[in-house]
């Protein structure tokens, strides 16, 4: 089946801008808040949000880290996994952390992310931001606080977020596996 585009171009940018404004409503000037993108594909959303926030907040520094969760996954003996780079050059102790990923599906990645994050300290508060929430497909009780868009899909479908930086174009597609 042809992949169906469910979000692209202007709407894609507007969605990210909206998420940033929602974040600012809660976190003001980000003086005690950091962003952590989950490898491999959450980091592009995290970087985009960091850039957008810095421009809205008139060049105030917003810390953004990248976290790899391979070693914390619960399915590591079921499939071959390649670790990515973890790059967190700040302390998250007592900080408000916003975990960022592209798609929220079963919730298992986020569960592993929460575990992995604790190796860097005890945060004050953790929130989850995702671009796409695949509703009704959760395996663990995890919900996002900030959601770009919600979609209903079945497990045989695949949702992919593509990024200008690596795929050439910003878009979200839905496709049968």
């Amino acid at each position: 089946m042809q992949a169906k585009i469910i979000l692209e171009k202007n709407k894609f940018d507007i969605t990210i801008k909206r998420l940033c404004h929602q974040l600012i409503e809660v976190h003001n000037d980000f003086s005690n808040t950091v962003i952590i993108g989950l490898q491999p594909r959450g980091i592009y959303l995290a970087r985009r949000i960091q850039k957008e926030l810095q421009s809205i907040l008139k060049n105030k520094t917003v810390h953004c880290g990248e976290l790899d969760i391979t070693f914390y996954r619960d399915d590591f003996r079921k499939k071959e996994l390649i670790p990515n780079r973890t790059n967190i050059d700040f302390i998250i102790e007592d900080k408000n952390v916003i975990l960022v990923d592209d798609v929220l599906f079963t919730g298992r990645t986020i569960r592993a992310g929460l575990d992995a994050m604790l190796a860097f300290g005890r945060p004050n508060d953790v929130e989850l931001l995702v671009l796409v929430d695949r509703r009704l497909s959760r395996h663990v009780p995890i919900q996002a606080k900030y959601i770009g868009m919600t979609i209903d899909s079945i497990t045989t479908q695949n949702v992919k977020v593509e990024w200008k930086e690596i795929d050439g174009k910003d878009k979200i597609t839905l496709k049968d596996k």
Binding site: R77, K78, A119
Partner: protein, 309 residues
């Protein structure tokens, strides 16, 4: 390639270039992990690993044990000196008894070449060779390669000389295989009596003059004289060996370029290498030790990942 082509780590000979690169890349991730405030990840929390050391070891054993603990594996240790081996039990029996207690992975050092291969054919567990006689010591070669890569950026095209007791060294053989697979040029240097007769068939050159070898190389890996394996005298005196093949600051400083100095340990200071060289800026001996933990974590992580296959 995201997985190893082998089920056990028996020697570098059995690995291909992709395997080695995969291990080194994964080790890079683990090096980041062991430099975090909390150095532990839960990847192997459901596995039990037995460390069977039929031969003495400090560094390798400690390094393996730390690696296992940082991967959250359960660890049992065994050394031959206080075991039933002394009462006449065979290797297979000893290991099968340990495996009957539900052990998933075995790290073994043994004085007989091929002991790990022998075991891998007979028991149902992942085997990691931590040194088998004068045959192979694969994790040492991998951590040496990792350390060279970290220091010099890459291994391809680099010139590496291994100096000393090549005849009795498992580090030398594993290093030769590993470095050649990664595209390095390897020379060995030492007294003729300590150079194996057919070593050139592996594609390495032999140089008997230490200074010439050092002038040629980018990296010098200084090996220890393994007196415990030498049944006859291979050179007149240690003092003469040191004069001919010992690396001192005077030689090091007189070279036309700054070479990297390595040593797999334990060092006999004042024999193959002097203290001022071992502690100099050009030495990466302690980096090798640090990298050893990361490399061994990578090896066990990747082998354990093949569990379900």
């Amino acid at each position: 390639m995201s997985h190893l082509s082998v089920n056990h780590l028996l020697g570098i000979k059995q690995l291909n270039k992709n395997d080695i690169e995969l291990i080194l890349n994964t080790a890079q991730n683990f090096k980041e992990v062991i430099n975090r405030p909390i150095k532990k990840v839960p990847s192997l929390r459901d596995l039990t690993v037995a460390n069977l050391f039929f031969e003495n070891s400090t560094r390798t054993r400690l390094s393996f044990e730390l690696a296992q603990k940082r991967l959250s594996a359960d660890v049992v240790n065994f050394s031959a000196s206080n075991s039933s081996v002394k009462k006449g039990e065979t290797l297979v029996d000893t290991v099968n008894n340990i495996l009957a207690m539900k052990v998933d992975m075995v790290v073994m050092r043994h004085a007989s070449p091929g002991a790990a291969i022998f075991l891998a054919k007979r028991v149902n567990a992942k085997i990691i060779n931590a040194g088998d006689g004068a045959h192979e010591h694969p994790t040492q070669a991998l951590l040496d390669a990792f350390s060279i890569q970290e220091k010099l950026g890459s291994i391809k095209g680099k010139k590496i000389v291994i100096v000393g007791d090549i005849l009795h060294s498992r580090v030398a053989l594993s290093n030769i295989f590993c470095l050649q697979k990664l595209g390095a040029h390897v020379k060995v240097c030492g007294p003729q009596t300590l150079i194996p007769k057919f070593i050139t068939s592996l594609g390495v050159e032999v140089e008997s003059d230490l200074r010439k070898a050092l002038e040629w190389c980018d990296v010098a890996n200084m090996l220890r004289i393994q007196l415990e394996r030498q049944d006859i005298k291979y050179f007149p005196t240690l003092r003469e060996y040191t004069m001919m093949y010992g690396l001192n600051k005077e030689i090091l400083d007189s070279l036309s370029k700054k070479i990297v100095v390595m040593h797999p340990g334990p060092i006999n200071r004042g024999v193959e290498i002097t203290s001022d060289v071992a502690d100099s800026q050009q030495s990466i001996i302690l980096d090798q030790v640090e990298n050893g933990v990361a490399v061994r974590m990578a090896v066990m992580f990747l082998l354990a990942g093949r569990q379900g296959n």
